[in-house]
Amino acid sequence: MKKEKILRYIFLLAASVAILTIFLILIFIAAKGVPLFFKVPLGKFLFGMDWSPTKGHFGAFPLLVGSFLVTAGAVAIGAPLGVAVAIFLSEIASPKVANLIRPTVELLAGIPSVIYGFFGIMIIIPLVRNLIGGAGFGLISASLVLAIMILPTIAALTEDTLRSIPKAHKWGSLALGATQWQTIKRVILPSASEGIFSAIILGVGRAIGETMAVLMVVGNAPIIPTSLKDPFSTMTSVIALDMSYASGQHQQALFALALILFIISMFLVAMLRLVSHKRSS
């Protein structure tokens, strides 16, 4: 009997590794990052405009703006596309066509971010350069690459939501003489709105945390871009780039950025749970 009890606790321990890790991450990142704020006030860090670590300036605002911009750009392009593909798969496509498109989306989800970044450098950047001038780095390239990366996430969850809507609503609408699109627009999508919202939040989470692909196409200048042609930076790109040589306060600043990223992603998780609890009640 004793052995059974011990085993139960061993398994419980295994199950708890995840939540323990979350705490460990928080502790270690904070331990390395928070000391920065003894020297540099939090406000100056969050809202300062000058990021020149070599000169001792750690104004991270341009980086925060950068992360926000690429996320917004990715969602602006990726969310409508992802939802459209999901609607197509769930309502329009024949089984044969769906069996072509769905694996395509799943495949896109499995492609490593560094390959997307590589593709961005080789194809998208020259394309953007030809279209609008400048060096090709910047918001458009980064948004395009990120949009494709978050599209599978959004499409998968949206399709699940659409499929879970009772068919009775669809048949009821069609039996009143509504066209397919009217049924989708007026009955199916409104019923699915919370699920679609969750899907987009998941997409936002992916976009904000993405490092490699963004790093390779955003241009890496720690400024707030004023045009579509300006290179800029995100929190993730700066951490990745600087970490190999940063030390001392610089390193602390990078850990502080990581802490911000961690807090944002936990916030998004909490928001997702709230939305899904609302749905199930």
Partner: protein
């Protein structure tokens, strides 16, 4: 001779390889109630769904033969499906109001067909709910969700919703089988009223119901191993129930099977 709403000629229907309906020939008289009766699973609902081509949604469904609505074949290439379904509206066995307010449920049909002005919509919502004998019960809570109504009320809501698109034919697939007896009575009275202006085709399990309110009755049966439903007998309800011509009809009506 009163005009025919539907004329069905040599109708065969397949779900993939399974022949669900075989060699159906009959007419549905306009502005009358026609009942389809027969044992369960024998294809009555399938036949109903052929009349508004809702079966088109089923992959691998095949139709042979002709179905004419007021003289025009509904499978002609120039037939617009949404318009057909507006003219031939359907009430389902399980009430299926949309997850909207009562008002929006009834207004849904007119809205998708282009009506926008609030005053017009208000009128049509009120008159449809009146015709469905629901107005007095819900007129003070039009903004409440349609799902909060009782089963019987939900079904009347669905009828109001269908009436709002001003159909010429109302197809009803066992409209009262999921409803309590009191609401059933109300709905039967309602259907009897509606037949003055509309053609009604009703699938029912309840023979007393068919005998009570319908003028014409069709008896369908799938009797051999192939399982295809055939039209065994069709005629005036009175005749079918008091002097059926076919032995199988008589057996069903007197309860020997089904």
């Amino acid at each position: 001779m009163s005009d025919e709403a539907f004329e069905v000629k040599d109708l065969d229907f397949w779900y993939d390889d399974f022949k669900a309906l075989e060699d159906l020939n009959f007419e549905i008289k306009a502005r009358a109630i026609t009942a389809f009766i027969g044992p369960s699973g024998c294809g009555k609902s399938t036949l109903l769904r052929c009349l508004n081509r809702l079966n088109d949604l089923v992959p691998d469904a095949k139709v042979k033969g002709a179905i004419k609505l007021f003289g025009k074949n509904i499978h002609d290439a120039d037939v617009d499906l949404p318009t057909l379904r507006r003219r031939v509206a359907m009430i389902f066995q399980q009430p299926n109001p949309f997850p909207f307010s009562i008002y929006d449920n009834v207004a849904y049909g007119p809205r998708i067909h282009g009506m926008k002005r609030k005053s017009e919509l208000d009128d049509i919502v009120e008159s449809s709910l009146e015709k469905a004998a629901l107005w007095r019960e819900v007129k003070d809570k039009l903004n409440d969700s349609g799902l909060e109504l009782s089963g019987g009320q939900q079904q009347r809501l669905c009828i109001a919703r269908a009436l709002a698109v001003k159909p010429e034919v109302l197809l009803m697939d066992e409209p009262c089988s999921a409803i309590d007896p009191i609401s059933t009575q109300k709905i039967e009275d309602l259907i009897y009223e509606l037949k003055k202006k509309l053609t009604i085709v009703m699938v029912t399990h309840n023979m007393q119901q068919a005998a009570r309110i319908s003028s014409w009755t069709a008896f369908l049966l799938a009797e051999d191993e192939s399982g295809s439903a055939k039209l065994i007998e069709y005629g005036k309800t009175n005749d079918i129930f008091t002097k059926p011509k076919d032995k199988r009809t008589e057996n069903y009506i007197t309860g020997r099977f089904g």
